[in-house]
Symmetry: C2
Subunit: 346 residues, 2 copies
């Protein structure tokens, strides 16, 4: 007190924040697209829309976090890929409507600001942006002692994309008889971690470095696999082919049971055939150890399907062939029937 | 364990989340502008740009949180206005470049999801959006037990605005001789709360319900005053008058010392005259009790100035008269001189 309180002593280090900004700037700039007008460090990010490409451009925006997958990153002290998850959760959401991701901003709140750690996390965000083809236009790193533990943080993201209004995909033309094609997930993605952690790290008593042969890696490594970004595959499909994609579903919080109904028009139900795609080993392991009921599994975990496409039945075989030619796995997992917006597993 | 683990038992309540979404939907819809194409509950928010209004529209985006001002809301168990702060921190940042806020998304992470509490917080966000004239296009409410205490949460926001490219204000035309006009803050805004809480609630030993005559209210009420949103006043100035606004500054993290240099071109320094605007009582109280050095005050707290405008000296008197006619306080607080990007207080 002798010299009066300064801010670093009360738990917020402005100099560390400035150092973090210096480390982040080149990382973000490496993701810039030609439309980006400003460098980081201004009050905001500037992005000039290329109007020549659109008749009626519609901005499509989404925000999401990575949930308690963060706890796994904390346990493993491995922070380089959680940013990919933050981007994936957002861009897959806007991809559902056929939008191309343009730019992304991250919000990172930390207990104690360590510039190198922040840079590692943001490098993951930049990698996700590269995979999704969008610019990391800006972000906020907030030091909030007393809300986060010194070693912990939260990470959320925000994406803006663009779609031609006439080409927006919203599920409204879906009808009974349509087929559902599923694209594989990379693992847990970023949902269900409270339950997954409870089962694997408490009930089973595994540590993150426990090696499980059925997974082919440690429990922690499996839990930290980044969420798959479907943007390059699906945007290329939409832009370069004439398939009649009637609806798409991102399997996010609420999973297969609760996400599919979000795009179904009245009078439609989806029947999923349980044997039609491979359930990833991590899900069988969780179900077995936690004795989790099947219906609960279906509304918490993606079970191996991260993204769905709904097409007229006559197009399903050629769409599956298309994915095969792209060397991408895809499965015919179900169909649309008459009903009241349910998801039925047979 | 007899019936297997279900998700609510592991700390995440999907049903509470669905209930929160139901409560939030009408609150968000009340902020919609004609350009909003979708309702909440899809995978993303859709916003059709009104292209007729722009030659070369540039999107301007920013993200920010409310920092440890949240701790005051927790202490007072008062959650209705912290959302205004989240909006203010973002929209004031893009306003600096002359952008009109179009839409906003919020990220709310909670320890335990109580639908009514979430709705109260989001109602504050919606109020902020109304003040700023933007649509609350979407948001995420994440339940993250184990990262947040059951009673605590974090709140961040993302805004996208639009500006005509030729009219973007970036400070590049600022030169020595220009005058600096300041608009009053409403109080602490959302910066410096780690130090403010340390001084007021620890060093001074005040409680949030301690009444301080110099403040005219309790310490907690003073600390929870929402950040002022400068959008209506400044956008109206930009759109309806011909003043030559050369640069604007949002006094956010880093305050007067660190924000003014963000827009200064090479060769410019700003001299602020300390006696030219009223220092709000809250700042004098903090400085006195915490024996905080003046330079530290100037880089942590806004000291009563929340937003600055830089204009040619010949326009300063008429701009001050303009604000007077609008019944808004404004002060001639300094001028631009030759220098190396410093902020000098005299």
């Amino acid at each position: 007190m002798e010299n009066g309180l300064i801010y670093a002593r009360s738990g917020v280090d402005i100099d560390a924040g400035n150092q973090a900004v210096k480390l982040i700037r080149p990382i973000a700039q490496s993701t810039f697209r030609p439309e980006v007008l400003s460098n980081l460090g201004g009050f905001s990010g500037l992005f000039a829309l290329d109007l020549a490409r659109y008749q009626k451009p519609v901005l499509v925006a989404s925000t999401d976090g990575v949930g308690t997958k963060l706890k796994v990153a904390f346990l493993m002290n491995r922070h380089s890929s959680i940013g990919i998850d933050a981007v994936a959760m957002c861009v897959n959401d806007i991809l559902v409507q056929g939008a191309e991701p343009l730019f992304f901003l991250d919000y990172l709140a930390v207990g104690k600001l360590v510039p190198e750690k922040v840079a590692t996390i943001v490098a993951g965000v930049a990698e996700g942006c590269r995979q999704a083809g969008c610019a990391l236009l800006g972000g906020e790193t907030a030091e909030m002692p007393g809300i986060y533990s010194p070693e912990e943080y939260d990470l959320a993201g925000f994406v803006v994309g663009v779609a031609e209004q006439a080409k927006i995909i919203n599920g409204s033309r879906i009808k009974p008889g349509n087929q559902v094609i599923g694209l594989p997930s990379s693992g847990l993605h970023s949902n269900g971690y409270s339950l997954a952690r409870k089962v694997l790290l408490e009930v089973a008593g595994y540590r993150v470095d426990t090696y499980r042969p059925v997974l082919g890696r440690t429990v922690g490594e499996e839990m930290l696999v980044p969420t798959r970004i479907y943007v390059p595959l699906v945007l290329s499909l939409l832009e370069k082919t004439d398939f009649n994609i009637l609806g798409m579903v991102n399997i996010t919080g609420g999973s297969l049971r609760e996400n599919i109904p979000r795009i179904l028009p009245p009078g439609c139900t989806v029947v999923l055939k349980k044997q039609s795609w491979p359930i990833l080993p991590i899900f069988s392991l969780i179900q077995e150890i936690g004795r989790v009921k099947e219906a609960e599994m279906q509304r918490v975990f993606n079970l191996g399907l991260g993204f769905l496409l709904i097409v007229p039945s006559e197009e399903a075989p050629s769409l599956l062939s298309y994915f095969t030619r792209q060397k991408e796995k895809a499965y015919l997992v179900g169909e649309v029937v008459s009903g009241n917006g349910e998801v039925v597993f047979v």
